[in-house]
């Protein structure tokens, strides 16, 4: 099927945003997307996710006669496939330019860099050697397939275990995994490709372009490097002229990125090794997290907490003071009171409260100043506790049958409650004032 064409307004938008230094997903120009490595149940099977780009790598081995001109070396075979599930434009069985380019890059990156020791793959010189076959399938194309493919390739090779072989004279015994533990391949170093996209004749440079950015780019540069800062392969396509400084700058960026990615790979390999040794569950099913907020298993995201205190102070000063919160609010509309319903009878309070309010307003200013000083040393937690501890008094109406064990205490309780109410309201006023004072700092 034909790929959906990019519309003119999208193209213009991407280029304009780039001129202002903005990318569609919010990254900076030199930022990589998140790299996630997950392993399958077999040795040598892994899936690498670079943002939404996914590549599956699978390594397998076979005993074959060696090449006649190299009788003591094993054979490496690399194959990259673009499956139609990656993008609608990919058709099965069609050799497109992109596919040829990918294949040649992976070959140069992994074979010509001699990261795998082929001499160690020899079993009987001239007769039997191991043929290691690496298949890379691109499962989803969201830009920068080369990087994801190279990471998947090297991770699959590092993860792979070949059957153990012993040679006694003329006899060659290949042990099954049950008889003897399989042996890992001997890998000297881990070359990883990093891609750069150039826009507007080299003025703007982006690392790790997404699929949209790749469609509008002018030129493309791929540098394969290992963590020892050795360049394994370098390729420039797209027909733009690159200046020496640009290439040097790209190689410096590559060095930084490769060290980061190598760390991620090492950690993933170690984790998988540990889980397998401890006998825990491993495989793809364990490493697929649920993406919804309502699930309790989610990947952690780094949060920048550099200026949190200053920002928090700013927000608190600008925000309005929070409204009063009462633990069990019962709002009385003016002129009404409540009888029964398991809550304290407030019928008599109506008249009292009206009188009390008048008294309160007068004495508030005097009392609060004094009380604030008294309570400066108190914790807010104790204040909250006293608020929440308002006792719910059984209604003392004559209509309900209430067994009162200590009848003399009841009226005292109501009195203390009204008193505590008065205290609480003044406490609240004090709190408000104190919060304002704190915010002003």
């Amino acid at each position: 099927m034909k790929a959906t064409p990019l519309s003119n307004c999208e193209r213009r938008f991407l280029l304009r945003a780039l001129q202002e230094g903005k990318r569609l997903d919010g990254r900076q120009c030199y930022d990589y997307r998140n790299v996630r490595v997950s392993f399958g149940p077999d040795y040598g099977c892994c899936v690498v996710e670079l943002g939404k780009t996914r590549v599956l790598g699978q390594v397998s081995c076979e005993l074959v006669p060696p090449r006649p001109n190299r009788p003591t070396e094993g054979i490496l075979f690399f194959n990259v496939e673009l499956s139609p599930m990656a993008a609608p434009g990919f058709e099965p069985g069609r050799q497109s330019e992109l596919l040829v380019e990918l294949n040649s890059l992976i070959e140069r990156c992994l074979r010509n860099s001699e990261c795998i020791d082929t001499e160690s793959l020899c079993v009987v010189a001239g007769e039997k050697v191991w043929q290691i076959r690496l298949d890379l399938h691109v499962l989803n194309h969201d830009g920068n397939m080369i990087d994801a493919a190279s990471i998947a390739g090297i991770v699959a090779l590092c993860h792979f275990r070949r059957p153990d072989v012993s040679v006694q004279g003329e006899e060659v015994t290949v042990y099954t995994p049950e008889e003897r533990d399989p042996v890992p391949l001997s890998i000297h170093h881990m070359p990883i490709c990093v891609s750069f996209a150039f826009f507007q004749q080299g003025t703007y440079l982006l690392v790790d372009p997404t699929e949209r950015e790749e469609r509008v780019m002018d030129g493309f540069l791929v540098i394969a490097m290992n963590k020892h800062r050795e360049i394994c392969t370098i390729q420039s396509s797209g027909g733009i002229m690159l200046v020496k400084e640009q290439v040097l700058r790209c190689s410096k960026i590559t060095a930084v990125k490769v060290t980061e990615i190598t760390e991620v790979i090492q950690k993933a390999l170690e984790n998988d090794q540990k889980v397998r040794k401890e006998g825990g569950k491993f495989g793809f099913a364990e490493s697929i997290p649920n993406q919804k907020i309502t699930s309790f298993k989610m990947g952690s995201t780094a949060v920048d907490t550099n200026n949190v205190e200053e920002q928090a102070e700013e927000i608190i000063t600008k925000a309005e003071p929070p409204s009063e919160v009462v633990a069990k609010p019962i709002l009385h509309t003016p002129g009404t009171a409540q009888i029964g319903e398991g809550i304290e009878n407030s019928w008599g309070d109506l008249e009292e409260s009206e009188r009390e309010e008048a008294v309160e307003e007068e004495s508030e200013s005097e009392v609060t100043a004094f009380e604030c000083q008294k309570r400066e040393s108190e914790d807010t937690s104790t204040m909250k506790e006293t608020k929440e501890d308002e006792p719910i008094v059984l209604s003392d109406s004559e209509e309900e049958e209430v067994v009162i064990l200590e009848p003399q205490e009841l009226p005292k309780k109501t009195r203390t409650q009204t008193n505590s109410k008065q205290e609480n309201t003044s406490k609240k006023a004090c709190n408000r004032k104190r919060r304002k004072k704190r915010a002003a700092h």
């Binding site: 959906t4 064409p5 519309s7 309502t294 699930s295 920048d304 920002q311």
Partner: protein, 294 residues
Amino acid sequence: MAAISMRLPVARKAVAPSASRGGEKRLVAPGDTITTDTGYMRGHGTYVEEEKLIASVAGAVERVNKLVCVSALKSRYNGEVGDIVVGRITEVQQKRWKVETNSRLDSVLLLSSMNLPGGELRRRSAEDELAMRDYLQEGDLISAEVQSVFSDGAISLHTRSLKYGKLGQGVLVQVSPSFVKRQKTHFHDLPCGASVILGNNGFIWIYPTPEQKDEETGSFTTNLEPVPLSDREVISRLRNCIVALVTQKLMLFDTSILYCYEASLPHQIKDILKPEVMEEIVMETRQRLLDLEA
């Protein structure tokens, strides 16, 4: 960088299935047996294996007398005569344009199916052919109607009415064609202040309501006046509502979009895309639609 926003996960309660509508469709997945009765003819989306009729796509089973077929839930647009589509010009060829309409093959808009400016009726000359690019270029969006379907499935479009033509300023939302409900009219002027074209091919165009209703130009000249901020906000909110409806698998038609818009008003426009807010809004919309049906 702004302050951090926190969202807490909540254990989701299973939503009770909505009131059963008459004539429940049977849903199948690829590989499900539809029937073992050999008396049926197999239609699209099915195949026969070992005397069993098996579904090859995921969708609802449709039966017309002896013909059994499965209509896929997610597929490319299959054109039918009379559908309204919104498409993008991909190529300008001799005497026709190729339009991309989310179908298996590019649709075709013949020069003779296009209205000339001024509403003239004449034979298209060589000059018209040379001036094709002035009317429609690659990358332009148009609204058109399906005139006919070729034998290989390619669609032939026409813009033989003043309401079709090049689209100007607005927002395009691309959804699966199965979400757009077949209605009498697909051009709606929503009371919230924007207009929407629900293309049967899944392309939905939201644009500010034009002030004058009479367009004699056949909409070839794009109106490039700046759209006021209030209109832009209405359009973005509508766009987010449509995305929410599609994510929650609700059919799109003017009433559902309008109810969703009203349900989303208490939230900020950018909050509508959060999963929990989406669920809340769409549940309210679903409830209102059920009340409407009852």
